[in-house]
């Protein structure tokens, strides 16, 4: 399922996610936000496979921290919220 949102004060964020038994089977995060370094997005998506919607925000935050990466125009909580919406 695809959900998208213009983050208040931020950018457009779009989450496309497929679930299997309550866990993420496939996920694609797109939009016009910024993330330095950009490749971190692949690691974020990989880290989320197998996870349930509730733990997404924390996992994204963890990957960002590990890579010393900066997400601009959206937050890890925004991604978590959209994944929850995509999960119902």
């Amino acid at each position: 399922m695809i959900v998208q949102e213009k983050v208040p004060g931020g950018k457009l964020l779009c989450v496309e996610a497929e679930f299997s038994h309550g866990r993420i089977a496939r996920i694609r995060i797109t939009g016009d936000f910024f993330l330095h370094p950009e490749e971190t997005i692949d690691e974020i998506e990989r880290a989320l496979v197998g996870s349930d919607a509730e733990s997404v925000a924390a996992k994204v935050a963890e990957v960002l921290k590990r890579n010393n990466a900066q997400l601009i125009g959206a937050t890890s909580d925004d991604i978590g919220r959209l994944v929850r919406r995509a999960s119902v």
Binding site: Q4, G10, K11, L12, C14, R28, I29, T30, G31, D32, F33, F34, L35, H36, P37, E38, I41, Q70, I72, G73
Partner: protein
Amino acid sequence: MKWRVIPYQENDAFFNMAIDEAVSEAVGSGESPATIRFYGWNPRAVSIGYFQSLAREVDLAECRREGVDVVRRRTGGGAVFHDSEITYSIIGPESMFPKDIIASYKEVCGALIDALGTLGINAEFKPINDITVGGKKISGNAQTRRAGVLLQHGTLLYEVDVERMFSVLRVPDEKIKDKMIASVKERVTSIRQQKGVAREEVLRALTDSFTRGKDFQEGELSRKEIARAMELAESRYGKDEWNNAR
């Protein structure tokens, strides 16, 4: 620190994006000075942000029919139809810019705002990455930082044809496309809509404001940068696996 200014030149989309990356590498290794370049897109092109979905943002069939190139940038941000506009890049060691990202956008965009001011157009910075005139967008900008180098490129609309823009860009809901075009017309402006100034005048004003207070010299790309850009245009920016990655 000496700056290099590369005067306006037109290239195709793949080479334009490859040049920005090749120059960033050369600045990073200390082989090239911090650089400001102005450029245009020939043929006309759509660039999309690193994180955008190509299929959802761009009408590829229409682009093919119209001979419009499509390229994914290595910077985030939104889709841009590079039609009648002026694009710039500023590439330098991160240490030359504010550490805070919004502050650095504001500083670089300040040069565009000053240039518009000298043309009699009163513009302001709209965080995160836009410049507006009377609340209407006239410029979009995108930045990345890697290996200690900051790259910011952006576009300044010289003329805008919103209908033509949306013949190649997709909207989320085709059913309300007309309504969306009408609303974008209300929210976007261009230099020509504000002032009857020639492109050359705009380029002069931009060059003056970007170089103000800087030790600079007009220059060109090094042979090594050109060779590397040709390689990147072929191996990355011209490749489906890059452009279609999301």
